[in-house]
């Protein structure tokens, strides 16, 4: 299903590439021992290195390198055993040294690929161009004082992974799916928390438009977009703008733009002429980063099961639909929850309950899987009570609702409220007789051919039994009774 913008003569195709900045999860910063944790009072996570004091030198943080390698492996990418750090020179108040240490010519991770899935179930492969390590900058605070700006260097020097995609995406939906998939992979790997609201993951979006079959036209870069929704909206707005420019006989200028979510439009930040000359050159304070193949292999062996592999396993091992498996693996916590529920029970029933009743309950209570009101263990017990026929499915729904509210174990609820399923055929037969006796008119209709009333009788019998009747036995008893003459 292709996404095209209407044009005067021919439709326009959108070409999208993304540069995602993902903050590395690590104890300390990329080149200093200062804490890399989010938050903290301004300028409390700052070493002399971060503040660019004279004579201070960067030393690479091994854990950040490991995280980049893990991420590269998770993106099915080539790991470069030798890479290099370069200086990107520019002046800004929150950049203490006057340069950002980055990897320009020789990144630590080369080309890779990830697969995205679209709403219609189709899949696409999106190429990864490269991943490199670089320092984050500090933060300028312009709202603290009438005439002066304040600077917080807590974030200065924190490790970032810049993950650059090929211009492989052709619709806002694909770009959204790409960012979500990337975030899922990073979270599985534990290399970035993917928290776009806090800025630990943000995207620069490159957009151009063209008629089908044309070479690429000039692209614009939309900087620092900080949610999946905004990524999609920004692409739509920017693509429409570019189509307008081209169709009005103009040309799109290569420039950096910002997305304004309130107005739903992008606007120019700086043109190509104003672009910095970053004067990249190899950082002479750092040696080339050489890593050992054996170390990469160890990191690979230590990787968790990633979403694609997990999804395939869920399909083959648990026999659940591919779609459900996809939903379950989107978050590692959900997948873990599901596997606990499914263990030793009925995996399909578990999938239905997790994606159905549990998700609904989380939605309703505003909770996440991590602080679910019903534990995976408790949910497994509940499903166990269904499988061993202690309760029927109808009653299970009630018990579940009560579990959500009270957190009480399912068995206790069943016992306390006497919800055990009735399998005593004598009791069932009696209930059937009572219903038929009370509904002689309906019985007559049934006999005269209105077969649909069978369901009505089942419902009435269940109702008469307080919902606790074993549905199969109730059906069987009714069928036998109705087969007999009055």
């Amino acid at each position: 299903m292709s996404y095209l913008l209407e044009g005067r003569d021919a439709p326009w195709e959108v070409v999208i590439g993304l540069e995602v900045h993902a903050q590395v999860i690590s104890q300390s910063k990329l080149f200093s021992g200062a804490s890399a944790t989010y938050g903290g009072e301004p300028n409390t996570h700052v070493s002399l290195v971060d503040a660019g004091f004279p004579g201070m030198l960067p030393v690479i943080n091994r854990e950040c390198v490991a995280q980049a390698v893990r991420t590269g492996l998770g993106l099915n990418a080539r790991i470069n055993l030798e890479s290099r750090f370069d200086r990107k020179n520019y002046f800004y108040a929150d950049l203490p040294t006057g340069y950002q240490i980055s990897q320009f010519a020789q990144p630590i991770v080369g080309s890779g690929v990830i697969e995205i899935e679209l709403a219609d179930g189709s899949t696409r492969e999106i190429g990864i161009t490269r991943l490199h390590l670089e320092q984050d900058a500090g933060k300028s605070l312009h709202d603290q004082h009438q005439t002066q700006s304040f600077i917080d260097l807590n974030r200065a020097g924190v490790g970032l992974m810049e993950i650059v995609s090929e211009p492989d995406m052709r619709s806002p939906e694909e770009a959204g799916a790409y960012v979500r998939k990337l975030r899922t992979i990073l979270r599985y790997l534990g290399t970035c928390d993917g928290n776009m609201e806090e800025g630990s993951m943000r995207a620069d979006v490159n957009v151009s438009v063209r008629h089908s079959g044309e070479p690429f036209r000039t692209r614009c870069e939309i900087k620092n977009v900080n949610s999946v929704r905004y990524v999609m909206q920004a692409i739509e707005a920017e693509a429409r703008r570019q189509v307008q420019v081209w169709e009005a006989g103009g040309t799109v200028d290569q420039e950096t733009r910002l997305f304004d979510p309130a107005r739903g439009e992008t606007r120019s930040l700086r043109s190509k002429e104003d672009a910095h000359d970053y004067r990249y050159f190899p950082d002479p304070d750092l040696l080339p980063l050489v890593i050992d193949e054996g170390w990469v292999a160890d990191l690979k062996a230590g990787l968790p099961e990633l979403p694609d592999a997990k999804r395939s396993r869920f399909v083959s091992e648990y026999g659940i639909p591919r779609y459900d498996a996809g939903v379950l693996v989107a978050e590692q916590a959900t997948a873990d929850f599901y596997e606990t529920v499914a263990a030793g029970g009925d995996p399909r029933l578990a999938a239905n309950w997790v994606t159905g009743d549990l998700f609904a309950a989380l939605n309703r209570t505003g909770r996440t899987i991590a602080d679910s009101p019903v534990s995976a263990q408790a949910m497994r017990e509940l499903l166990g009570l269904m499988v061993d026929q202690t309760i029927n499915g109808r009653i299970a729904k009630d018990v579940f609702e009560e579990m959500v509210e009270t957190g009480e174990p399912p068995a206790a609820i069943v016992e306390r409220r006497g919800l055990r399923q009735v399998t005593d055929t004598g009791a069932i037969d009696a209930a059937v007789e009572a219903v038929l006796a009370a509904n002689a008119d309906k019985l007559a209709e049934y006999r005269s051919g209105k077969d649909k009333l069978f369901g009505f009788f089942v419902g009435q019998v269940m109702k008469g039994m307080g919902g606790k009747g074993n549905p199969a036995l109730v059906n069987e008893a009714l069928r036998q009774r109705l087969a007999r003459s009055p």
Partner: protein, 493 residues
Amino acid sequence: MLTDLSIADGLRGLRGKEFSAVELTTAHLDAIAALNPRLNAYLTVTAEAALRGAGAADAALARGEQAPLGGIPLGIKDLFCTEGVRTTAASRMLENFVPPYESTVTRQLLRDGAVFLGKTNLDEFAMGSSNTNSAFGPVENPWHRTGDDAVLVPGGSSGGSAAAVAARIAMGATGTDTGGSIRQPASFCGIAGIKPTYGRCSRWGVVAFASSLDQPGPMARTVEDCAIMLRSMAGYDARDSTSVDRPVPDYAAACGRSLKGVRVGIPREYRADGMPSEIEALWQQGISWLRDAGCEIVDVSLPHTQYGLATYYIVAPAECSSNLARYDGIRYGRRVEAPTLDGLYEASREAGFGAEVKRRILIGTYVLSSGYYDAYYLRAQKVRSLILRDFTEAYRTVDALLTPTAPSAAFALGENMDDPIKMYLNDIFTVPASMAGMPGLSVPAGLDHQGLPLGLQLLGRPFDEETLFALGSAIEQAADFRRLPSVTAGRVR
């Protein structure tokens, strides 16, 4: 006089209780008080801390402990950050900068009992060959031409350190060498100085000029004293990624080592046009001294020598333009307020940096800029690897090289000032080894016809400083360099 003692003799005297560390330090502080107003070798004198350090050294001596430099008073180039002591890099930019940290090299010297007399003058941010680029005034070379009162420059950038050591107002001093900043002033002031192999001494806490070239090293009146100091200064530092993890030998033990069979190369490309004949003559003298000492002399070629200076003046400014970007008036250092951020940068850097520093920042910015990078920086790096290969090739057949240190003796204040290129030529013999990261030792070897000291330079294999000390002490012994400069502690001619 106590101020005339070498470090080795000073250590012996202290150990033998001939004098106390406090006496030794006091003698130097008194000499500083007398001479420094004229020489301007020290920018900051830390008398109180020095006496405290000397007292501690005496206490340790009384307990029978003598640290490797226990009680030895030294000057510290004001490029080394010293905790709680103003560190200026001889720049207005850092005029009032007091670092809350101690550089690794000075920390190791303190660990080994050294006493710091103060911070010595230099060319601003170590950029220069005459010490005339200091924001706090030039340094006077304690040497004078015979029968001529003209003030001479001490060389640079470690000019304050060289002058202080020569004038006997420090027993030794730290220097840093990027393209010759230890060796050339050592030669101009008639003292010894070694630029160790790149990576031998930590750069942590040393204000950076050109990171791939900067290397701290000792300056002292004898080769042995340099060896004693280097043992304390050298060593691996995990905080400097370019420092090298290998054991630090007892360098002093190498002084006086037999030179039988040591092969010394004479690079034919080091005969500069217009080089005074007496420097050529001194070089020949050095060759015969080493031959007499048992060395085998071999003619060698370092074909890319002629490109050394040009590539140096691309690489070093490139790195400096980036290294000095941090001096922006925001967090520390000189700040000149302005209505905009860019205005603040411009005003602060305009006021904070001197002309030579600005020139090099401009050159460096230019050679790294888009469109020029390949033609300048990238090409310079390629030539740099050819220069390195020259040395590597030469060291297949020889153990060390002998050259003059500088193409001239000390020149007068005011000379060479009109033309930066002429000034840059001072480093023509020292720059190639810097580009290759190789160690180089300058040894005072003789006087020119005007009575000014001249040095010979010994270059060696990476991390083979020991061979340089062995060769250097042989030249030192043969040269029997005893002449004193005209301005020294206790006597001013």
